[in-house]
């Protein structure tokens, strides 16, 4: 399916900001499941944009703005074609567990087997696993599917119930969260069972009647690496297979590695952050029309001085 995604991020600062450096991870990925027709990124104030590939294979765009400014707007626009949903087998051979263990012992896919900053080893995870009677299934694919289903059932999706910095244990205690938290809990449980998996950030374009959906947000889901299937994506927020309606943008061990923006600056402090995501079927309208931002997200509680975190 062809999509055009426009993503506008507006940082507003309470005081003038200078020497601002920013990394943007919003470039769509070329993986087996989608191809990229075009991608543009522009900033206001203007800046020279550089590209590099990071440790997780993400396409990163980076720029700096030295002179003082009171707001920063980053606009990306991409045209991408997603592949039809890949069918998965019913199960894998139980020997797949052994294959995963050997990979781990050999130090392969290290980042995705091991705990990560936002997905630490946690007693709360163990309690969650026990509470839902989750055990290691006969094969990793079945196990992964079951984990996703349990997370979907065990957590309530509640917009604005958490922020980007809400710890995993709080999410498990509240049993509520947003897509990022659903993904983190899934990662924690899957890794506890020895399944290497990673966080995926991107967009979800639900089937819509109108060709344009506005006021969307970024979405997050999970990919597990399974023998024979390689990276296999499931969406725990909806308990569905990742499909042609999912557009992936960045991966990492957890949100921290895949955050849409990451930056530091001098001055400030940070103020409200506004995000607008618009997804259109097909080639999309060249003009973005009137961009009406939804209500801004307040800056995260007590960010480190001079740092901005992404939405």
């Amino acid at each position: 399916m062809d999509y055009t995604v426009t993503h506008v991020t507006r940082f507003q600062y309470q005081g003038p900001v200078h020497e601002s450096l920013m990394e943007v991870r919003l470039g769509p990925r070329e993986d087996g499941c989608q191809t990229v027709q075009s991608f543009d990124l522009s900033t206001t104030p203007a800046a020279t944009v550089f590209r590099f590939v990071d440790a997780f294979g993400n396409d990163v765009h980076q720029f700096d703005i030295l002179p003082p400014h009171q707001q920063l707007i980053i606009q990306t626009r991409m045209q991408v074609r997603t592949s039809p949903t890949r069918a998965l087998p019913e199960r894998l051979d139980p020997s797949a567990w052994g294959a995963l263990e050997r990979l781990h012992a050999d130090g392969q896919l290290w980042d995705y087997f091991e705990p990560s900053p936002r997905v630490p080893v946690s007693l709360a995870v163990a309690a969650f696993v026990e509470a839902y009677g989750l055990v290691r299934a006969s094969d990793p694919l079945t196990c992964f599917r079951r984990i996703v289903a349990v997370v979907y059932g065990g957590l309530v999706y509640a917009p604005a119930s958490t922020t980007v910095d809400t710890p995993l244990d709080s999410v498990l205690q509240m049993r509520r969260g947003v897509c990022q938290d659903f993904a983190h809990v899934t990662l924690a449980v899957a890794r506890a069972f020895g399944i290497p998996c990673r966080y995926v950030s991107g967009y979800f374009a639900p089937t819509v009647e109108q060709p344009v959906a506005q006021n969307l947000t970024s979405h997050a889901w999970v990919e597990a690496w399974l023998p024979g299937l390689e990276w296999t994506a499931l969406d725990p927020t909806h308990d569905i297979l990742v499909s042609e309606h999912h557009i992936s943008v960045a991966v990492g061990r957890d949100y921290g590695d895949a955050a849409p923006t990451r930056g530091v600056f001098r001055g400030g402090p940070a103020g409200p952050l506004s995000v607008l995501v618009r997804i259109e079927r097909g080639a999309g309208d060249a003009s973005t029309g009137e961009m009406l931002f939804p209500p801004p997200v307040a800056a995260s509680a007590a960010p480190p001085a001079g740092t901005s975190s992404g939405q």
């Binding site: 020497e19 450096l21 990394e23 020279t48 550089f50 590099f52 590939v53 990071d54 440790a55 997780f56 980076q62 700096d64 030295l66 012992a105 050999d106 130090g107 392969q108 290290w110 980042d111 091991e114 990451r262 930056g263 530091v264 480190p304 001085a305 001079g306 740092t307």
Partner: protein, 485 residues
């Protein structure tokens, strides 16, 4: 061996034990190359020696050659204690050391490149990939990054010890921000100043070319296409324990000493704030740890670094020396694999051997070590400065139990080695000359080629019988003389 009277006079308190002694082959029998020193020690009254020792101590004070000791209420500036008697190394001994170090550093550079690129040594099954990934100093950001001339290591301080059989062994490699070179240079300068006659009858190879050589190597690894590279020394600032050394080196190389706040990155290029405007910086000799180098890429609350520095580095727009991520090769657990590393990349046997090392991650070795804690030295893999280690024979049962608990909690974090009888060398004490344990830290400089500076820092455990030579824990140093052929 020159026969002499049995140990008497100023050597009355000289203890001979299992350790190799640098000066004496036996009681009353000094080694040929120490003849000159021995003669002077015998002919001059001890009071005169003490006077010269005091003059040397005063020279350190007036010149303000200090370091800061942490672990106390306020950082206290101390003079690194110095013993006037030089430690001698023959030309033949040095030739072996030099070849061994060149071989070792060459292999480690190749290892680092392999770790961050193809990983051939993992595929060959010689070093476990998990060992490297578990290492706190492994930097995923460095995977695939091109480093000028494949030179990950520019300044290396490899610690050597001499065992009872007289052979030099490698104790550990320091590949991140090795320090101490300013003492090496200061020691030589002060001996020359305070007792120049000591140098008569000896041809001692010079070391004062160190700063020039370092600068030359730093220029060699400037980014491609760069002519007349601007090189700076990046320091964490006045509160760092080695600050004096940073100022010293910057001064000797006649380059700017900068802090993170003096630099900025714009359009992937690093600039320094100067009175003449922004001046492009090409090579950074950094004395700041990886974690604090760049708040955008690494620890984001660091005020010591430069935001955007790593991205400029990755893009090849600035060179950082030593490279980011070299700590993966000076992890003490990786140390045990260095002989295999040398063989794999160079198809040669190591010229300098390792000290026997037990890896506590391995169940069998761990069991052995836990049973013999009282006889072994246990060290945490990632620490420097002698902190957190257990010297078995000098420890209490309570300390051994504590170490046992720590090992069981995180076995990967520890290694163990037999208690080495480090060689001893003569030191001036109150009433005469006594033996004290010493080690040796030569400095190896690499750019497009490798230079081993003939000498190094001989560190001394100042207390009788002590084996701990680190400055932060009461050690001292000596001038090191590598003799000409």
């Amino acid at each position: 061996m020159i026969e002499h009277e049995p140990a008497s006079g100023i050597f009355a308190g000289y203890a001979f034990g299992q350790a190799y002694d640098e000066m004496f082959a036996g009681a009353g029998r000094h080694r040929p190359h120490y003849a000159g020193i021995h003669e002077r020690l015998c002919e001059l009254p001890i009071e005169l020696w003490r006077e010269r020792q005091r003059a040397a101590d005063m020279a350190f004070v007036t010149q303000g050659i200090t370091f800061t000791v942490y672990g106390q209420a306020e950082g206290v500036e101390r003079i690194f204690p110095f013993d006037l008697l030089p430690r001698l190394i023959t030309a033949a001994e040095w030739a072996t050391i030099e070849r061994g170090l060149v071989q070792r550093i060459t292999a480690l550079n190749l290892f680092l490149r392999d770790v961050y690129h193809d990983g051939r040594i993992f595929q060959a099954g010689l070093v476990p990939r998990t060992l490297i990934r578990q290492c706190r100093h492994f930097r995923p950001e460095m995977v695939g990054v091109q480093v000028p001339h494949g030179c990950y290591l520019t300044v290396v301080g490899t610690d050597l010890v001499r065992g009872p059989d007289g052979r030099f062994l490698v104790l550990e490699d320091n590949l991140r921000v090795p320090s101490g070179v300013s003492y090496m240079l200061a020691n030589r300068q002060i001996v020359k100043q305070v007792y120049p006659q000591l140098f008569e009858r000896y041809h001692v190879r010079s070391i004062d070319q160190y700063p020039r050589t370092l600068l030359a190597h730093l220029r060699e690894i400037a980014p491609e296409g760069c002519t007349d590279a601007k090189v700076v020394v990046l320091t964490p600032g006045v509160f760092n324990s080695a600050y004096y050394e940073h100022t010293f080196l910057a001064h000797e190389m006649a380059i700017d000493l900068v802090e993170g706040r003096d630099l900025l990155v714009h359009d992937n290029t690093v600039y320094a704030h100067t009175t003449g405007g922004l001046e492009r910086v090409d090579v950074i000799y950094r004395r700041v740890d990886d974690d604090y180098l760049d708040p955008l890429t690494f620890q984001n609350d660091s005020t010591l670094g430069v935001a955007g520095l790593f991205n400029a580095y990755r893009a090849g727009r600035v060179t950082i020396a030593n490279a980011v991520g070299t700590g993966v090769a000076d992890d003490k657990a990786v140390y045990a694999y260095v002989p295999a590393i040398i063989r794999f990349y160079l198809s040669e046997d190591p010229i300098l051997d390792n000290v026997e090392t037990y890896l506590l991650d391995d169940p069998r070795q761990r069991a052995f070590v836990l049973e013999h804690l009282a006889e072994l030295v246990v060290k945490p893999v990632g620490e420097s400065g002698g902190y957190g280690m257990l010297v078995g024979p000098h420890s209490t049962a309570a300390q051994q139990q504590e170490m046992r608990d720590r090992i069981l909690a995180h076995p990967r974090n520890y290694i163990a080695q037999p208690t080495l009888a480090l060689s001893t060398a003569p030191c001036l004490v109150q009433d005469g000359v006594e033996a004290r344990h010493v080690d040796l830290r030569p400095y190896v400089l690499c750019g497009r080629s490798i230079t081993v500076v003939p000498g190094g820092l001989t560190r001394v455990a100042l207390q009788r019988g002590s084996l701990v030579v680190n400055s932060s824990q009461g050690g001292g140093s000596k001038d090191t003389w590598v003799l000409g052929a």
